[in-house]
Point group: C2
Chain length 301, copies 2
């Protein structure tokens, strides 16, 4: 089954890890969290998805397992603020990407080298090649996303979200092709505002999804009525998205044909199951169940 | 004695190390060797001078002693060409500089942070804030300087040297001020073509040197009629500079008032001495002797 997964960070990455065992997968990853740190282009979501697929994700959930910290230690000793901590191997991946970008490569081409370097055989496509940068308005200030999340610990109420540069972004040829030829399109259990929101916000992305022949199935990021990780609830509250299966169905209205969630849902084809993916087995099971809903919808159409 | 030293790499750096013990030093460093590697701005000459002054130079003569190689190892494992090898701590200095440059700092400001991070109390000023990039024409190809030196091992004959961007460069306010207020100006024993040549090639630099009230003393880079390090002779042959004290005096004609060399020299005030600086004592002695010639010339003027 040719499958495309739209994904933010951890939730989508876990589903992706299950999916590579059971289908022919292409991932479209949020890049609105991308940031330049120490002059280096960091792509948190594409990278952590890649590390998950390489079975190399670290205990923090975004770096490379057993990485070392020589460069961060040196930066810290030099008095450079190091709240954004990149391990040495993680940094090497970012340097490779940055070198390619400065030499004129598209972000898609540059990240493909990271994927290959991690021995991952599945395309992890940036949602666009153009720079998009999420900013959060909070307490009267507009703060870059990573700074809001890490420095401010996402503790202050969210008054606004800006996706800078999104109006100039376009789905890449690789994404258009993957969507047009997919048998199933999945929206991962990622933050609908700041992870899936930017992907769907790329001008032309919604049309490409609507034009695709494949059914679109969303996996709810809510477990027991809440996001698993801290900030999801806050962003949903700001965006007026109810943290429930019904909320997800409404958030993706006009795009999704089915929803997988841990609660019953009316008005749209849905599959109720245990959506927690904290073991390899549960990740594979979730992948299979989500694809089975997609397959059912395909037959219906 | 307020002293300004124009310096390339190792030779000038060794003299600088001697000079900081005996005078109030400011260094003007060649930046035409600067290069972007892995997307990171590397400044070989300013950095190695800084590491020399910090007593932290490594056995290769351009990195930081006892550095580690985690990032290079990871890049190599990822299949990235790593002929330009930066240790982790060295890389951290480059990342600090790169981050500052991308945030809009001048190269002078960015390198000042590296100098401070290395606990060096002496200004190491880039020769200009504008990008200048030495290219070498050899075997019908125009090759970036570091590639010619490291990948091609400077083995093929030199048919040309291009200092790309030099026409847009200008002496910085910091350099103008240092030269105008100096008691002595020294030209270090560095390659006259590719190290001192770019510094003197910055439009306005020769005028600033001529306008300075301080005498200008050059230290010959030739020991026994040859450059100590490989490529000097080849570049001098290309440029028609005789590898002798007389050759240096002619190369800096109109700028220098005196020359320090390991051989006698007629027609210009000169000091003959052992110019090898392979020990702390010899570096300090060379610093003292060079300054004493400058002091004599000052009295004469």
């Amino acid at each position: 089954v040719k499958t495309v997964l739209l994904s933010g960070g951890t939730g989508g990455a876990k589903l992706a890890r299950g999916l590579i065992e059971v289908c022919d997968l292409t991932i479209v990853a949020n890049t609105a969290d991308d940031v330049e740190m120490y002059g280096v282009h960091v792509s948190p979501d594409p990278d952590l998805i890649t590390y998950w697929l390489a079975d190399a994700i670290d205990e923090r959930g975004y770096g490379i397992r057993d990485d070392t910290w020589k460069v961060m230690d040196a930066l810290e000793a030099a008095g450079v603020p190091t709240w954004f901590r990149l391990g040495d191997r993680d940094l090497a991946m970012c340097l490779m990407r940055t070198g390619l970008l400065r030499a004129g490569a598209r972000l898609t081409e540059a990240h493909a080298e990271v994927v290959e370097a991690m021995d991952v055989r599945v395309p992890v496509l940036p949602m666009c090649d153009e720079p998009v940068a999420t900013h959060v308005r909070s307490g009267g200030r507009l703060v870059p996303f990573q700074e809001y999340m890490i420095v401010e610990r996402a503790e202050t109420p969210i008054d606004g979200v800006e996706l800078r540069g999104i109006e100039s972004a376009r789905p890449t040829p690789e994404i258009r092709d993957a969507l047009a030829t997919a048998d199933a399109i999945l929206i991962g259990p990622s933050n609908p505002v700041i992870s899936i929101g930017p992907i769907l916000g790329v001008p032309g992305m919604r049309d490409a999804l609507r034009d695709a022949r494949a059914p679109v199935v969303a996996v709810s990021p809510f477990v027991g009525g809440h996001g698993i990780k801290g900030p999801t609830d806050g962003f949903c509250a700001y965006a007026g998205i109810e943290t429930s299966a019904a909320g997800i169905a409404r958030a993706y209205d006009g795009i999704v044909d089915g929803v997988v969630a841990d609660e019953p849902l009316d008005g749209i084809p849905a599959l109720q199951t245990d959506t927690l993916m904290d073991t390899p087995e549960s990740r594979r099971r979730m992948a299979e169940e989500t694809l089975s809903l997609a397959r059912t919808l395909q037959r219906l159409s």
